[in-house]
């Protein structure tokens, strides 16, 4: 089979656009056709062809006028956690069915200013709460490597759109691993920057002290191009946005990694990691040694504690953030109710799915009178200890590497609605999230499951503001391997 348009990386497509080998309108049309043809994957929640083609025509004009920039005309899609004027914004919830935002999220705005063309909005777990994309009110997303398996979550639609060639790249959000884990399960590349580098303005809030936006794409180079456009201060609109200037992350991609010290935490290789996943990660670490990196054994002793700490802090913040959904100013309102209190209760019971209700309940409880110190404050203190553990580790190494998740993608329904089973699978992404560190997932191997190849992701964690170092290490790995270029059969 000849190489079709959607088999190219975003950087290659940008080159073709610039060379006028293909127009943004043709490219958008090609991808929109694929979105329709593969609707069974459940990746997209909304498209708006007219609006997409209008953006594409504008991009073509910019390119013709020679003021294109590196992202002009490339077709991407946004996780439905980002609010958009031109498409509905649902957060995967019945609560926001048909909601229309009066403004665009800063991330959406910045990527539009860079000339990207929006193909549509992508399915995700409701309010980004989930690790399998089974918590969307609009149905699950299927993994193109094996349609009976989950794509990971919460940015499951984003990962599948990229893996199945339904978008050249996508935005995602990561609170406890929601970019890295689905990237790993779908065999693509994703990066979550340092907390505070990407604006949270217009990102429907889940846990505000953890939520970060980031790109998901085929390669580290593609992620670098997108992240350069996404990052940068947003002082008037996000009070937690840091005063750290935007960077061109593509500049240092090619640098040598000779002598780079890669820390390998022993806790990331404990019992519970599937042997075939462990073997793929070990092989990737050997590849890094061949490239000149040095392996350093380290310890992150509070890795296991990250699970309860995260699942206290995130629901606490969620219960506060989601109190705005009361059926008054926007969103769902119950049809039948008595007084105002009854309206609130019925509206919220109808509009929120079960996992969201569980997290609101846990959060309300741990913030309630008499329990705050024992749970929420205790969790915030251990959060600092976890962040300090990382700083100790970074005295001995430049980057940390290990698995993204203990297993590959599981089957739809396999966890049988047991929320704790999903929580435990987040163990390796939660520590970096709690510390606010940048982290990425890169394809590093495949294991066999039911006769099909299933992708394994290598997690790289950097110190604060070391996104360039992460992308450099990821790019060098991708220059030496081809895992990131493999595609699921039929896509």
């Amino acid at each position: 089979m000849s190489r079709q348009l959607h088999h190219h990386t975003l950087a290659e497509l940008a080159g073709k656009l610039k060379a006028r080998e293909v127009s943004a309108v043709e490219l958008a049309g090609h991808y929109l056709g694929r979105v329709r043809a593969h609707a069974d994957l459940g990746a997209y929640l909304a498209t708006n062809e007219e609006c997409t083609l209008k953006q594409a025509r504008a991009a073509d004009e910019r390119i013709a006028a020679g003021d294109g920039g590196p992202l002009a005309g490339v077709p991407i899609a946004h996780k439905d956690i980002f609010v958009t004027r031109d498409f509905p914004s649902t957060a995967g919830s019945k609560m926001l069915a048909n909601y229309r935002s009066p403004f665009d999220a800063t991330v959406v705005q910045r990527l539009a200013d860079a000339g990207t063309v929006t193909l549509g909005k992508l399915n995700c777990d409701e309010f980004a709460m989930g690790s399998a994309n089974e918590n969307s009110a609009y149905g699950p997303v299927r993994n193109p490597w094996d349609k009976s398996r989950i794509p990971g979550g919460s940015s499951g639609g984003s990962a599948v759109a990229v893996a199945a060639g339904l978008a050249a790249a996508a935005t995602g959000t990561d609170t406890g691993g929601s970019i890295r884990q689905p990237a790993s399960f779908c065999g693509i590349t994703g990066i979550k920057p340092t907390y505070g580098r990407a604006s949270r303005y217009g990102m429907i809030a889940y846990a505000s002290s953890l939520d970060q936006a980031g790109p998901m794409a085929r390669t580290a180079e593609d992620c670098a191009l997108l992240l350069s456009a996404i990052c940068g201060p947003d002082p008037d609109r996000d009070s937690t946005s840091l005063d750290v200037p935007a960077e061109d992350f593509t500049r240092t991609l090619e640098g040598s990694i000779e002598g780079l010290r890669i820390g390998v935490p022993k806790e990331f290789f404990a019992e519970g990691v599937a042997p075939d996943v462990r073997a793929a990660i070990e092989a990737a670490l050997r590849e890094y040694e061949k490239l000149g990196a040095k392996r350093v054994e380290i310890s992150l002793p509070r890795t296991e504690l990250a699970i309860p700490v995260y699942y206290i802090i995130a629901p606490a913040e969620a219960s506060s953030n989601l109190s705005r959904f009361d059926g008054v100013k926007f969103g769902h309102r119950a049809q039948q109710y008595g007084d105002l209190l009854d309206m609130y209760k019925k509206t919220r019971a109808e509009g929120f799915g079960l996992e969201v209700q569980r997290r609101i309940m846990v959060g309300t409880y741990v913030l309630s009178h008499g329990y705050y110190d024992a749970y929420y404050l205790q969790a915030q203190k251990i959060r600092r200890m976890i962040a300090d553990d990382f700083q100790r580790a970074f005295k001995e190494c430049d980057l940390i590497a290990g698995p993204v998740a203990p297993t590959v993608a599981w089957h739809l329904g396999e966890h049988g609605g047991d929320p704790v089973a999903d929580y435990l699978a987040d163990i390796f992404t939660l520590p970096g999230s709690l510390a606010g560190l940048p982290g990425m997932s890169i394809p590093c191997g495949f294991v066999e499951g039911g006769g099909k190849p299933l992708p394994v992701g290598l997690q790289l964690i950097g110190n604060y503001f070391d996104e360039a170092k992460l992308l450099n290490a990821a790019h060098r790995f991708q220059q030496a391997t081809d895992f990131h270029l493999r595609r699921p059969e039929g896509f």
């Binding site: 909601y99 505070g196 504690l305 769902h332 024992a374 929580y423």
Partner: protein
């Protein structure tokens, strides 16, 4: 520590969620299952540790910014009310609160 059904009813009221008997039962067992996981965290000695709110505050001083108290957004009442469940003459409608 284990929650009982009265706790669930109280929390649901605080969270403004209507839970039917069957859902309360399921919620109770799932939340108790979750809190079993949390016990390990409660046993950690954290005396003298400052809670961490903005994660980057682990390595540098982070001040949450305040901006000037001036109107920065244009009037967009119509757009803002487009997704409201019930609106009349530019006002959000709710059930009668004061008799």
């Amino acid at each position: 520590m284990s929650l009982n059904s009265q706790d669930i009813a109280r929390i649901a009221h605080l969270a403004r969620l209507e839970l039917h008997a069957q859902e309360s039962e399921r919620m109770l067992s799932q939340i108790n299952g979750f809190f079993a996981l949390v016990e390990k965290m409660r046993a950690v000695d954290t005396s003298g540790v400052q809670p961490l709110t903005h994660p980057v505050a682990a390595v540098r001083d982070v001040q949450l910014r305040l901006r000037e108290d001036v109107a920065s957004e244009p009037d967009a009442r119509e757009q803002n009310q487009r997704s409201a469940p019930s609106v009349e003459r530019g006002l959000f409608l709710v059930p009668k609160v004061i008799e």
